[in-house]
């Protein structure tokens, strides 16, 4: 029973991991940039939601669209002003530009908000549903539900909207897309802003069961990379599978190993996947 409980918890948490990580894989898929600063947008999303709760009394889950919007604007500016300049630069320049952004975001937050941990209190925080002998934590369930809505909206956007199709066309062949009248620079801005917006959205919906501090991004870096590499870097559908898998791996390893070793299992899975199937378990398809 403990085992089934762990799998259920893992799947619920994993849904959120998928939303947080989709942005990372989307940006890579569209423009070939690995954004090391992506996890900082979890932090930004959490802070926006925390302030919305503390100042306006809005539930963090309902503040998630606000988190999305703030990150979208930041992402739009970053892509236009900074990332666009290194699109054709060697990969080391791309890696270290985003590492620089990571340092700036984390320490900028430290300067503005201080290093203390903040959390919210909501009426449903400690509630859970019981299904037979299974317990389903309400905050987990709500976050999972929001992830589903978010995932469905993204799926519709990428599939059916003109922007989504134009973005996929740009990913496949930027110069051909340009000839068809698509502004590739604009598509990159949308993709980057959308990507970091989704990550911030994920940050907001986990706030009912997580705490936020300027360094919180560091907790998610390897986790997010594990999710996207499991699913194949660049594959949005793969990130969903990867997110669920990482959630389950974490929950199951917590049953067997002491808490200090929990991340170790994740790292080892990550390295093993890279070594054996760097294109991801699902196979790379954009």
């Amino acid at each position: 029973m403990e085992f089934v409980q762990a799998i259920v918890d893992g799947l619920l948490i994993g849904g959120v991991y998928a939303v947080i990580s989709i942005g990372l894989t989307l940006v890579y898929g569209v423009m070939g940039i690995v954004n090391f600063a992506q996890a900082e947008f979890v932090m930004i999303g959490m802070f926006v939601a925390w302030f919305a709760w503390a100042w306006l009394g809005i539930d963090p889950v309902l503040a998630a669209p606000l988190s999305f919007a703030v990150a979208f604007v930041i992402g739009w500016i970053l892509q236009g002003q900074l990332i666009a300049r290194v699109l054709k630069a060697p990969s080391v320049a791309q890696i270290f530009l985003t590492v620089g952004l990571l340092i700036v975001f984390e320490n900028g937050a430290l300067m503005m908000f201080g290093s203390q941990f903040r959390s919210v209190t909501t009426p449903y925080q400690t509630m859970s549903l019981s299904l037979g002998s299974l317990f389903i934590s309400l905050p987990y369930l709500i976050a999972f539900g929001m992830s589903l809505i978010c995932g469905a909206a993204l799926w519709w956007f990428m599939r059916s909207s003109w922007f989504g199709r134009a973005m996929r066309a740009t990913a496949l062949n930027p110069s051909a897309a340009q000839l068809m009248g698509i502004d590739a620079g604009m598509m990159y801005r949308i993709a980057f802003a959308l990507g970091v917006g989704l990550t911030a959205f994920g940050g907001a919906i986990i706030l009912p069961y997580a705490t936020v501090s300027p360094a919180v991004g560091g907790d998610y870096v390897i986790l997010m990379f594990t999710v996207v590499v499991l699913g194949g870097l660049g594959s949005v559908a793969g990130a969903v599978v990867g997110g669920l898998a990482v959630g389950v791996i974490q929950a199951l390893s917590a049953l067997v190993f002491p808490i200090q070793l929990q991340n170790l299992i994740l790292f080892l899975v990550f390295i093993a996947v890279l070594a054996v199937r760097p294109q991801g378990l699902v196979g790379a398809s954009r």
């Binding site: 990969s91 080391v92 320049a93 620089g100 320490n107 430290l110 290093s115 170790l264 890279l274």
Partner: protein, 322 residues
């Protein structure tokens, strides 16, 4: 001016520098760490520059080196000089173990896999308390000051040892770069499959580069332990302040060139110290924030490093002469 004359002058300045600084003071410590980090970035440069594999996990070897010599000294009273050789051995073994699964990866994938490896060792060092002392850290036991014990009252000898390390690692880097191995690495960097076709054993060459780099990095870890005297797993296995910083130094200076890591270290390490000095009183995070901004600006301005400044300068001078 001839190249060797410039080199001699730089070396003479480097030799005089420790003498000119207050031996009890703060800046001789900064200078020692600048030499040390330049040497570390140079060791990284063998993999990151010559083989073009951006490793973000070199803290793994560095931490192994720091712990190997310190544990040998603590438990068996073995001199850190011998400990340094043991560190090189273990660093080489670790580099081999890491290279096997990651060698075929390229670009971002290689960076990510090595980053995770460094983190694995950090977690292991934190948990394996019987050997490492865990997260409460480890102190290098006191030995009577002498060269044989690698123990000194003042920092000046440490500065010279770090300088010697920098010269030696740079010489090794340059020797590899100009050897057949260097040309094979160059060929792999330009086009791996073409190199394979003309008979370069790409796996073997990359493996050799990784092992040499790992061994040197581990020996520099021992050097660090002797200067720092106290450290913990989160310091020596740190992804940000060791792995990424070392790569960053080489990249800002000019990756794949022998002067790049030296330029980078003399830019970054004193800059960080100065900013800590200026800003630490005003607000937490401000110095790192400014550091991140400078990093972004430099990367946008000189994506191939400071070395290109000299190249464009000498190109201008060359045109003026013509």
């Amino acid at each position: 001016m001839k190249r060797w004359m410039i080199m001699l002058m730089v070396l003479a300045v480097a030799l005089l520098l420790p003498l000119s600084l207050d031996p009890q003071g703060y800046w001789i410590r900064v200078l020692t760490f600048t030499f040390l980090f330049a040497a570390m970035a140079q060791a990284w440069n063998i993999v990151g520059g010559l083989a073009n594999q951006t490793s973000l996990g070199h803290a793994a070897f560095f931490g192994i080196g720091a712990y190997t010599s310190t544990v040998l000294l603590m438990k068996f009273g073995i001199s850190p000089w011998i400990g340094m050789i043991a560190a090189a051995g273990l660093g080489g073994v670790a580099a081999f173990a890491i290279a096997i699964p990651t060698m075929r990866l390229e670009g971002h994938y290689f960076a990510l896999a090595t980053l995770a490896f460094g983190e694995v060792l950090r977690v292991v060092a934190n948990v394996w308390t019987s050997v490492t002392g865990g997260s409460s850290g480890i102190s290098v036991p006191f030995s009577p000051p002498s060269l044989a014990n690698y123990s000194f009252k003042l920092l000046r000898p440490h500065a010279y040892i770090a300088l010697a390390a920098l010269v030696i690692v740079t010489a090794i880097f340059e020797a590899i770069r100009r050897s057949a191995m260097g040309y094979r690495l160059q060929a792999i960097k330009e086009n791996a499959s073409a190199a394979e076709v003309i008979g370069v054993d790409t796996t073997k060459i990359k493996l050799q580069a990784a092992i040499i780099s790992g061994m040197l990095m581990a020996m520099l870890g021992t050097l660090y332990a002797q200067v720092a005297v106290f450290f913990d797993p989160d310091t020596v296995f740190n992804a940000g302040s060791i792995s990424i910083r070392v790569a960053l130094i080489a990249i800002l200076g000019g990756v794949g060139t022998p002067v790049g890591p030296i330029l980078g270290a003399f830019f970054i390490i004193p800059l960080e110290e100065l900013m800590n000095d200026w800003f630490s009183a005003s607000a937490a995070g401000l110095s790192q924030f400014a550091f991140g901004l400078i990093l972004i600006i430099v990367i946008l301005w000189r994506p191939r490093g400071f070395v290109t400044l000299f190249k464009s300068f000498s190109a201008k001078v060359g045109r003026a002469h013509a």
